[in-house]
Amino acid sequence: MALFDPKPYLPLSPALWEILVALADGDKHGYAIGKDVARRTNGDVTLRATTLYSVLKRALEDGLIEETRERPDPALDDERRRYYRLSDRGRKVAVAESERLAATLKQARVKLFGRS
């Protein structure tokens, strides 16, 4: 099988990038993803429901994330929620994007501050 090449997916849209990062440390439902993103970006990035699910839908179709059947303890669960997990493919894409961003950042620093 040919090795998966994440390049065609790059650069990621800010929303998708934040969603992939949000899922990097564990499965989450939609609302939790939004909260995670808001918390990490100090509210700079807010994913409202329609945008969030629109991006999730496309990420699912592209195989970057998958829906998981494992659900938390029923006491903590809301049956309307679906839980999403970062797929191997999604992790590779996220890693590639973070490397791309790091390289971009490095170049920008050299230009702006004269050091990396």
């Binding site: 609302y31 807010t46 429901a49 329609t50 945008t51 699910y53 839908k57 929620r81």
Partner: protein, 887 residues
């Protein structure tokens, strides 16, 4: 559920249903959580603004996403069956192309705005005498109308004018290489263009002072004439120009956009306007001389009925003052749109309806093809339904496929329409006004797009619904289990049979319609015009110049010309006449029989009057029935004589011999009674389809009034083409007087052919549509039945194996196919009988329910349908049970 939640749910309706189905509940739950976090009214407002913006930003992209998926799926699906896709798209292209082309004509001729502001208030006003059709009026009446009416902003009168333009060194006229040119013109009262609401593009309009017998010699040129003969030189304004041997001044040029419908229809081809220059003191304005047309602009707030009553009131007061000049007159107002475009309306609407039916049939056929295709796709649908794809999603997908076909068909159809429109404009009859202005405009393109989309929905809906109801009505597993043996069930056949029935019905309607027109056309061709137009060249000459002011000079000119033409090789007879049958010319004179005076001379019956010279009756082959024809002795000084038509003799002298009786034609001074010396056969003057009129012939040399315009009739021997004499005839005219232009040179056969042009045009198009319709119906029937036979092979195999006779099998299939045909024919006959009145005005010699036409049509439909059934039936009868049952 809170109000906020309800609003949110309503807002989500902007998103595609699939998206809502997938994520709606999650989104609602998230929105509820966000509400809990939003503190206070400000927080709620902020949440709502953000949510609203989010939905509005995202929704279009989601819809586009689904559309692009549907499109690519549809294209993949169609690519799998390229022949089907191509057949469908081409059928549709023909339907939409024909429709759009006819619509472009309907649009350009009937729907486009008239070239005048507030055109709805423009009317023609016709004088309606109790004994006649509404028509022209006299200048006296017009003058009274103009001064006494209270319902019109303006009124204007027009009269025909023939202008012979001669080269003048002071203008650029003549640059076109031709020294003398005769153009059709119109003499108008000064308010004519003001009534229409148009102003000259260059120079000035006529003014009140121009409209006077002593200083009326100014002209306005059409844009076309100005470009053609004056090189579009703006310097011509104010320059002199020689017209009919008098000097006129060019006052202005009318705008290019003005395609003058009123002048153009009343005086075809008119290109130049001059003031009428009448006063009631002039001889042409005798009360009973009715030779002018009147137009008016109805005042704002006045209804047509009020304006008509007002004009009628004026006429009736005139009749009271001058009882011998009017016969209980009334005014007839007709909006110019109805007057000039109305006559073309039935033909165009008929053709439009016909192509509309054709497009419906194309839809039915395509739907049938797609139904067959749908049966093959039952398995696919079942699988997708089992995978949870919603019915609305599937419906959308099927409709997208139909749309792709419709758009392909529409695109090719539009290209066809552009081409067909040009063909229609080039070959359409002159009788259809504004045909030359017809083009594929924005509105026409919109029509093509809308008809493509609508047809796409129509033919896509039936198969899509059938598929969904079948696949939805059963458990998917059951469908899958039987997928290999389903289809061709009774329900599927019912759908297809209904479509076959519709097609047969529509094609029956079209065939009956065109059959009736063909019969009418043949009947018209069989009508004896009373003269023989074959081998006759007509040459219209109009004398101008001071040397032709009096009757003797005019008569001498035409005598010399006739003698010169008679000497041409191959010519058997030459006649001259003021008036010709079937050319649309009108010259009616009242007949008063000596000893039978009318209380009111206006009530005298009117006869078509022909002032003839030379061998008129021989050239036209009008037979002498009794008495004698004119001889050289019937000249200006001899006793006045007249020859009448057969019907005139029979009706006016039912019990006696008219020969030797005396009649007065028109009356007035210098117009003595004439002795009837002969009776000739009737001719059809006004139209082959119209009844014979009263007819009276007199030697033109004995006419009370000179007429400068006459037509030479040159009859050639059998087998010779009269048009081949045109150049020689022109030469002979030039040899006598090179200054006199020929107005028109054409064969009489050509005149008759033009007369039939509208009928021929309608007939050819309708017959072509009807033939296409029958083809569509037959192909549809064949396709549907063939498919059934293929699907029922197994069952047929079983029947054969069980001992069924092959003839029985054949009969079974044919009966199955012919049942919807029979129903279709019956429905078609009912529709045709009901719609027959629509074409009643186009029929001649046949009724709208002509039994022979119906009989032939129905036999043709039934025979072709049987043939279409027989081929699949033969295939069914050849089924080998051993082969099919093993398969």
């Amino acid at each position: 559920m809170s109000l906020n939640d309800r609003f949110f749910r309503a807002l989500m309706k902007l998103l595609p249903a699939e998206f809502r189905a997938d994520y709606g509940r999650e989104m609602e739950s998230q929105f509820r959580a966000e509400q809990r976090e939003a503190a206070g009214v400000t927080g709620m407002m902020r949440l709502w603004v953000a949510t609203l913006g989010d939905v509005i930003r995202t929704a279009p992209a989601e819809h586009l996403d689904i559309l692009s998926r549907d499109l690519s799926y549809a294209i993949r699906m169609l690519a799998r069956r390229p022949a089907l896709a191509l057949a469908t798209a081409m059928t549709l292209a023909l339907g939409i192309g024909a429709n759009t082309a006819i619509f472009s004509v309907v649009n350009g001729v009937l729907l486009s705005p008239l070239p005048y502001p507030d055109a709805d208030r423009l009317v023609t006003i016709q004088e309606d005498q109790s004994d006649d059709e509404p028509g022209t009026t006299g200048f006296y009446s017009f003058d009274a109308l103009r001064s006494q009416q209270q319902s019109f902003d303006r009124l204007a009168a027009l009269s025909g004018w023939s202008a012979v333009l001669r080269a003048d060194p002071s203008t650029s006229f003549g640059a076109g290489g031709q020294d003398t040119e005769r153009v059709n013109g119109v003499r108008v009262t000064w308010e004519y263009f003001r009534t229409l609401g148009v102003t000259p593009a260059l120079g000035r309009d006529f003014e009140a002072g121009d409209d006077h017998p002593d200083h009326r010699r100014i002209v306005l040129l059409s844009d076309g004439l100005w470009r053609r003969r004056f090189n579009a030189d703006p310097g011509v304004i104010g320059k002199p120009i020689s017209i009919n041997s008098a000097t006129y001044t060019i006052a202005g040029v009318m705008p290019r956009s003005l395609n003058e419908l009123v002048s153009g229809r009343l005086m075809p081809g008119s290109e130049i306007w001059t003031p009428l220059g009448y006063t009631t003191a002039l001889p042409p304005s005798c009360r009973s001389c009715r030779h002018i047309q009147v137009i008016g602009r109805v005042r704002d707030g006045v209804t047509m009925e009020q304006a008509q009553a007002d004009a009628t009131r004026v006429y009736q007061s005139l009749a009271q003052q001058f009882p011998t000049d009017y016969a209980s007159p009334a005014a007839v107002l007709t909006p110019i749109r109805d007057r000039f475009l109305g006559p073309a309306r039935p033909v165009l609407l008929l053709l439009w309806a016909a192509v509309g039916l054709l497009l419906l049939m194309a839809c039915a056929n395509i739907a049938n093809l797609l139904l067959i295709r749908a049966s093959e796709r039952e398995e696919e649908v079942a699988i997708r339904r089992a995978l949870g794809v919603s019915p609305s999603r599937l419906l959308r997908q099927f409709l997208t496929e139909s749309m792709v076909l419709a758009v392909m068909g529409g695109a090719v159809g539009t290209v066809l329409a552009v081409w067909a429109t040009r063909l229609l404009v080039a070959n359409g009859p002159d009788e259809i006004p504004r045909l030359q202005e017809v083009s594929v405009s924005g509105r026409v393109l919109l029509y093509a797009i809308v008809s493509s989309v609508v047809t796409g929905v129509i033919f896509g809906m039936a198969p899509a619904r059938m598929l969904l109801s079948r696949a939805g009505g059963r458990e998917a597993a059951a469908v899958l289990a039987h997928a290999t043996r389903t289809t061709a069930g009774p329900a599927a056949w019912r759908h297809r049979a209904a479509l076959v029935g519709i097609n047969v019905a529509l094609s029956t309607v079209l065939l009956i319609g065109s059959g009736l027109l063909i019969r009418s056309f043949v009947m018209l061709l069989k009508v004896d015009p009373g003269f023989d137009p074959h081998g006759v060249l007509t040459m219209e000459v109009e004398l101008s110049g001071g040397q032709y002011a009096e009757l003797p000079q005019i008569a001498s000119f035409y005598d010399r010309l006739a003698a010169s033409l008679a000497a041409l090789p191959g010519v058997t007879a030459v006649g001259v006449s003021t008036n010709l049958p079937l050319t649309g010319s009108i010259d009616q004179w009242g007949i008063t029989i000596e000893g039978r005076p009318h209380a009111n001379p206006e009530e005298a019956p009117e006869a078509d009057r022909y002032g003839v010279e030379a061998d008129y009756f021989a050239a036209m082959q009008v037979p002498l029935l009794r008495g004698r024809l004119f001889t050289a002795a019937d000249g200006p000084g001899a006793p006045p004589v007249v020859v009448i038509g057969k019907t005139t003799a029979e009706r006016l002298w039912p019990d006696e011999d008219p020969i030797g009786r005396r009649i007065t034609l028109a009356g007035g001074p210098n117009n003595p009674p004439r002795t009837i010396v002969g009776i000739v056969g009737d001719v059809r003057h006004n139209g082959l389809h119209l009844p014979v009129s009263y007819q009276a012939y007199m030697p033109q040399s004995q006419s009370p009034w000179p007429q400068s315009s006459m037509t030479m009739l040159i009859k050639v021997g059998d087998g010779q083409d009269p048009v081949s004499l045109a150049a020689a005839a022109r030469e002979r005219l030039r040899a006598i007087d090179p200054q006199q232009p020929i107005i028109r040179l054409r064969s009489y056969d050509g005149i008759i052919s033009t007369l039939m042009a509208t009928r021929r045009f309608t007939l050819v198009l309708l017959a072509a549509f009807a033939a296409t319709a029958l083809l569509l119906a037959i192909v549809g029937l064949y396709g549907a039945l063939s498919y059934v036979v293929t699907q029922r092979q197994r069952e047929i195999g079983v029947r054969v194996a069980l001992g069924a006779d092959r003839a029985d099998i054949r009969r079974l299939v044919i009966v199955q196919g012919l049942r919807p045909v029979a129903i279709g024919i019956a429905v078609g006959v009912v529709i045709a009988a009901a719609a027959g009145q629509l074409i009643a005005t186009l029929l001649y010699g046949v009724t709208a329910t002509d039994a022979m036409t119906y009989g032939v049509t129905l036999t043709a439909v039934a025979l072709s349908a049987t043939l279409a059934c027989w081929l699949p039936a033969r295939k069914a009868a050849m089924v080998e049970p051993a082969v099919t049952l093993r398969a």
